[in-house]
Symmetry: C2
Subunit: 461 residues, 2 copies
């Protein structure tokens, strides 16, 4: 017989307050002062030998282009493959295209361990090398592991701290949700985003440090310090947003999203990588004939502190810096963000909510007038005093090379971003996005970076 007092409340109302307290503590946490972080990170870089160099595809070890399909595959059948994707979305000039895509069916874990020190939640972050990051070493979640990693397909060392995330009941789960990765580069890839709180003693490995949410907010104001995996997990933290109301109720927002998902007829099918029209395979790259979008390249990596000390692998390299930005307007005193229901060919389910602007401007440089992507010029031309937040962040350095985006919150007005936005766009509050991100496949990874910036208090709208 289980008594009533053995039941738990469905919602933990104290957690948002605890997260807010952690976000309010900047500059000085139990681990180290933020001012000392740069030295610590440089020290970690010095402690290991990291080298990444571009190689021709023939220099790949264990990877080859499969007979017939031309897909780029590993001989173990694991890790990931580079294949072709054919996307068709109804009618219109850009209604159909073919492109290379990364297929990686297994679900990874991106997990951040949390623990209170002096009554303040701290998060265990890792200085992790990823070959695609320009500065190689960035701050990653406690655990960032594909299933191959922690089931030893790499035949390398164990993944540190993984036990906190794969042994149910060991800690207290604060967030745990399957989130999509880049829908333009991955075919239906999702990762498990987890925040788990422990009260156990945790021995601190030398590549790890405890930081408050506020300290992470300080680091998120810097370029290329907090990696994508850390950002997407932080976005899932159930922080509180003080919002007396919104332009649209949650039910209206869900209804609009359902309509957006229903009205797009997206057919995405994997096709052979060989023979993709407009894509040319050379010795060291597969690239678009007009130099747009991205290249498939190969690298050789040496690293002292990764699961295996050296390896080769393919990476996707975008042709230029991206721009991802939320337009911000206040309605009735409550900040709203202009969300975009985006179709990306690799999404599991048609559309997800992205930022107002998510483009690589160079891909669209040849377009003029009405053919220009909506709101792009409003963001690119924003006066400096209207830019509330700006930093350059890297995408997943394990799959993408020099994939960087300027991430912005830009104050706009009715002239550039009207009260009634065009179809596919809707004003939502940060709190509404935060509610949606408890569930998968609502908010894309670019929007989640900007949500993390808000959650950590790197900007207060």
């Amino acid at each position: 017989m289980i008594p009533a007092n053995a039941l738990t409340a469905r919602t933990d109302h104290a957690l948002p307050t605890r997260l807010a307290r952690s976000a309010a503590v900047g500059s000085r946490g139990a681990g180290m002062p933020t001012a000392r972080f740069a030295d610590w990170l440089a020290g970690r870089a010095d402690a290991h030998r990291f080298r990444v160099e571009r190689i021709p595809f023939t220099g790949l070890d264990g990877w080859s282009f499969a007979d017939g399909t031309g897909n780029l595959v590993h001989r173990s059948g694991r890790f990931f493959t580079v294949e072709g994707l054919h996307v068709a979305i109804g009618d219109g000039p850009d209604a159909e295209w073919r492109q290379p895509i990364i297929k990686q069916p297994e679900i990874g874990i991106l997990g951040i361990l949390a623990k209170e020190f002096d009554g303040v939640l701290h998060f265990l972050m890792q200085a992790k090398m990823e070959p695609g990051n320009r500065n190689l070493l960035q701050l990653s979640p406690t655990v960032q592991a594909t299933r191959s990693n922690y089931t030893r397909a790499h035949r390398g060392s164990d993944v540190k701290y993984i036990d906190h995330f794969i042994r149910p009941g060991r800690g207290r789960v604060l967030a745990d949700v399957l989130q999509s990765e880049h829908g333009s580069w991955f075919f239906r890839k999702s990762n498990r985003n987890m925040i788990v709180e422990t009260t156990e003693d945790v021995s601190l490995d030398e590549d790890f440090c405890w930081l408050t949410l506020g300290q992470l907010g300080e680091l998120l104001r810097l370029d290329n310090v907090v990696n994508m995996d850390a950002r997407t997990v932080l976005a899932c933290a159930p922080v509180a947003h003080d919002e007396p109301g919104a332009l649209h109720s949650d039910t209206e927002l869900l209804s609009w999203f359902t309509a957006e998902r229903s009205r797009h007829d997206v057919r995405a099918e994997r096709v052979p990588l060989a023979g993709l029209p407009d894509w040319v395979r050379g010795e060291s790259t597969i690239e678009h004939v007009h130099g747009r979008y991205f290249r498939v390249v190969a690298v050789a990596v040496e690293a002292g502190n990764r699961e295996v000390p050296s390896w080769t692998q393919p990476l996707f390299e975008p042709v230029d810096l991206g721009v991802t930005a939320f337009a911000v307007r206040s309605f009735g005193g409550v900040p709203h963000l202009l969300a975009h229901a985006r179709v990306e060919g690799g999404f599991l389910d048609t559309v997800e909510l992205g930022p107002t602007v998510q483009y690589t401007p160079r891909n669209h440089a040849h377009l003029t007038g009405a053919a220009r992507p909506p709101f792009l010029d409003a963001v690119l031309g924003a006066a400096p005093e209207r830019i509330r937040y700006e930093a350059v962040h890297s995408e997943e350095g394990g799959r993408f090379l020099n994939a960087e985006s300027r991430c912005l919150f830009v104050e706009t007005d009715a002239a550039t971003t009207p009260d009634e936005p065009p179809p596919g766009y809707r004003w939502v509050t940060p709190g509404q996005l935060n509610s949606l991100v408890r569930h998968g496949h609502y908010v894309n990874v670019q929007a989640r970076t900007l949500l993390a910036v808000l959650a950590a208090g790197a900007v207060r709208l």
Copy 2:
């Protein structure tokens, strides 16, 4: 400038109370007393000519087996196709199989119009003929339309009341979510489940009637009256459940679900219908060699009040009556249901929550001991006084022939359903399931039937 008082509350806290008021009004609504309903439905049946007869595949008009694949397709390329599916789920004896599957990519609308009469919400229900229903005529949503229906692919009459659902802003949306259909019979099919409230005058077509939620609850106690489409929409009504707590917090529940979704490696690929091992195509059926699961059959239909007066089509016909049941136990005074994270080959995303038991017993009659499906015998052998609810309901009569299930809530105890259930099962409250059903791909269609029974007050646990 939008003033603060133009904002809306994110949550409509009055709605659950209004739904509860409607659920409390049984026997006598503004439309008709429940006691007169059977006569009204019989009258609607008499007013039209309905006839369904089995025909050989060669009798199908416009449908044929495609060269090469053997897929059963319509010459218009629309409606749906019957293809093959190959499912592989990790290791184990039942880890791989092939079966026919229905592919129908377009998203339909299942919509119920709501309106207050004398301060009580009523729902506009339709007496609708579907060829696969044993009694042909059942109570359906106001609108039950594929996109082909309302974009005139049938070249038939307009879909009545559709405007309330496809013109944004015309009414007030109470629920709007994309929900999966049968994952064992459909490949990644979802429909838009909508409840829209209007304050306009609504002219009442003779095949339609207004009923309270309480009246719908009374009709849900009868066999084969409220059709599947009506049930899944009613399940999405945001009713209130008076629950001071739960065995697991919502975050713990989501975390368990995320783990379940992550641990299953499901690969489902469409394959040609021709040459499926263990499936035999005859003149009038495609059936399993051991007579299990279902048959693909063909029917000719005559109907006076459908969009087109006569047609032929394929249907899936299960071999026997199914059983779908939730085990119910009270923990700390709060009723809990034992949910099952089910893999179904046609799901978009690996698993959804189903009832404790969801089987066609005849498919498993050859199994004994530990090979028997979990909890099936506990439900089949339940003492009559422990059966809190039981009725036979039909699945979608537009695609399935004589597809009926005994739907039950069965009180169980720790001996048959332990406090700590086996992997893949978890105790959840009705309120928790109701929160999840606001979002798609969490709760399967069989569990939604049982949720509708609760929402309409057909049983009070």
